[in-house]
């Protein structure tokens, strides 16, 4: 193998086994591929949302075979485009916050998750929104997600607070429950609709 990092990519036919093979197909207007980064405090259920999205609709009892930190899932939209999400989970603990830029670099979508029973996690979510506005890729699609909506009786962050904040910052807002699978698919479908389409080609 050569030092080919600068050589134009002609790799479509070649498979090195390291790759999952799906990458040979470049993005076009009908088949989008997008990097989605998940941000939010630890324990808000980031990975549960993704697992629900990727596996939930098939068989909730199936034993997962790989970790949930990286997953990909393709969805088809009504206008017959498909969107393949490559979902990058991030560590939510405070001490790892400084590492997040490595993950959201080049991301097309950021999903910022908080827990409706935890005002701290909502504050943390707002921190991430500001952070992304400052340092995220321009034109990044952001979604604010209030998770654990099934825990109504323990709710501490009102729907209105989430809606208001999202509106102010031009984000899409939704409350989900990874436990009951409420709104999970809607979340990703809505994101897919909001993705900027390649204008030509």
């Amino acid at each position: 193998m050569g030092c080919s990092s600068s050589v134009p990519d002609r790799s479509s036919g070649r498979s090195t086994g390291l790759n999952n093979g799906e990458n040979s197909e470049g993005p076009d207007a009908k088949n989008l591929r997008v990097k989605l980064v998940l941000l939010g405090d630890s324990g808000v259920g980031k990975s549960c949302i993704v697992l629900r999205f990727v596996r939930g609709q098939f068989d909730p009892t199936s034993k997962v075979t790989v970790g949930a930190s990286f997953l990909s899932q393709t969805i088809a939209l009504q206008d017959s485009t498909t969107v393949k999400f490559e979902i990058w989970d991030t560590a939510g603990q405070e001490r790892y916050a400084a590492l997040a830029p490595l993950y959201y670099r080049g991301a097309g979508v950021a999903v910022i998750v908080y827990d409706i029973t935890s005002p701290e996690s909502f504050a943390k979510a707002q921190y991430w929104v500001k952070e992304l506005q400052k340092h995220g890729s321009p034109g990044i699609v952001m979604a604010l997600v209030g998770n654990k909506a099934d825990l109504q009786e323990k709710r501490e962050v009102q729907v209105q607070d989430g809606t208001d904040y999202a509106e102010k910052n031009g984000m899409f807002f939704i409350e989900t429950s990874a436990k009951t699978a409420d709104n999970i698919n809607q979340l990703f479908e809505e994101i897919a609709k909001r993705l900027p389409r390649p204008s030509s080609s």
């Binding site: 990975s47 970790g67 930190s69 990058w88």
Partner: protein
């Protein structure tokens, strides 16, 4: 690529230097870092299985092609993922996400201590970009962030102190740990901020105490007879196996004296300590670490033996020691250090 390897891998002096620094740091950190320092949940703590992941990561140096190196990184990540997954299934917890994965990866990396920086740069430079996408890109990014995290463990003198101190406090305080340590590991946070999370009992005084502690540790380092100072304390260099049941009472007495002394000093320092200059408190971070570590080890042993009742003792140790010295701000030299310790010991025995 294999032919070029010798001339392109870690060929820049800067890279080599960076490698060495990083490797030294990991060698240092790996001696005392514990899974809970990195927020690894107890469910997922399984150091023996992590050896597998470490082995994978260490293989990175056996191969020359960027692709092979990347393969071992991915293997290491897969091993970790599988272990986490098994643990989560076994304990009926949520499946592991990045919250659980990254800390373990950092831990494994610290323990494996590969020639890290050069390997990552090499992959970044020579692995075909179109191949470094998707899952490979994700796990590679995790590696990069592990490197960034480890390189940022800077200004170690203060932080290790705290990390190590926290190590041995009660697990019930774990939330408290987490908060404090977050600040400790993040290089930017100011000392005051970090310390504001310190011991509840001494919120207002602790900043100056820790400055004193740093001063004291710096002095100890300049003191070539450092170990003599600690000899004054009979259990400082003891091992758990050396103890007999009779020592328990003795230890407990020592402990009570130490606590009493420390609390008195803490109270007394309130006014006096404010006057002490700070200038030397940050000096020689690398070496400071060694002292702290050393005493930490010994105290850990003592604690293991002494079991639950004296959870505070560890914290008292270094503070107490450095404090004694710093009560003499214009502290002359090593003899004085030794003698002051000695005196102190005597008085406490009365």
């Amino acid at each position: 690529m294999t032919k070029l390897f010798a001339s392109v891998f870690a060929s820049l002096p800067d890279d080599v230097k960076h490698d060495e620094q990083l490797s030294e740091k990991m060698a240092l950190v790996q001696q005392f870092v514990r899974p809970e320092n990195l927020d690894i949940k107890p469910t997922f703590q399984n150091e023996t299985s992590w050896l597998l992941a470490q082995k994978e990561l260490q293989k990175i140096n056996m191969y020359k092609a960027p692709r092979d190196k990347l393969v071992f990184i991915l293997n290491c990540c897969k091993v970790i993922n599988n272990l986490l997954l098994n643990a989560s299934i076994a304990s009926n917890k949520n499946p592991p996400g990045a919250d659980d994965f990254l800390p373990v990866l950092i831990y494994v990396t610290i323990k494996a201590n590969p020639q890290f920086h050069s390997n990552l740069l090499y992959i970044q430079r020579y692995r075909r970009q179109s191949r470094l996408v998707s899952e490979a890109a994700y796990f590679f990014t995790n590696m990069l962030s592990a490197e960034a995290f480890i390189s940022n463990l800077d200004g170690l003198s203060n932080q290790i102190n705290q990390i190590a101190g926290q190590d041995q406090r009660e697990p019930t305080e774990s939330r408290h740990h987490t908060l404090k340590e977050d600040h400790a590991v993040r290089p930017k946070s100011s000392e005051g901020k970090r310390l504001s999370k310190e011991d509840q009992s001494s919120l207002t005084k602790i900043a100056s105490i820790s400055q004193l502690e740093n001063r004291g540790a710096t002095m100890l380092l300049e003191d070539h007879r450092m170990s003599n100072v600690f000899r004054e304390y009979p259990y400082m260099f003891a091992h758990a196996g050396d103890f007999t049941i009779n020592d328990v009472e003795d230890l407990l007495n020592n402990y009570k004296q130490l606590v009493f002394k420390y609390v008195c000093l803490l109270k007394g320092s309130d006014g006096a300590s404010a006057a002490f200059p700070l200038s030397r408190s940050q000096a020689q971070p690398g070496q400071h670490v060694e002292t702290v570590e050393k005493s930490e080890d010994d105290r850990a042993i003592v604690q293991n033996f002494g079991s639950q009742k004296d959870t505070d003792r560890e914290d008292d140790g270094p503070n107490g020691i450095s404090y004694q010295e710093s009560t003499k701000p214009d502290f002359p030299k090593e003899e004085a250090a030794a003698s002051s310790e000695h005196n102190h010991d005597d008085t406490s025995e009365q």
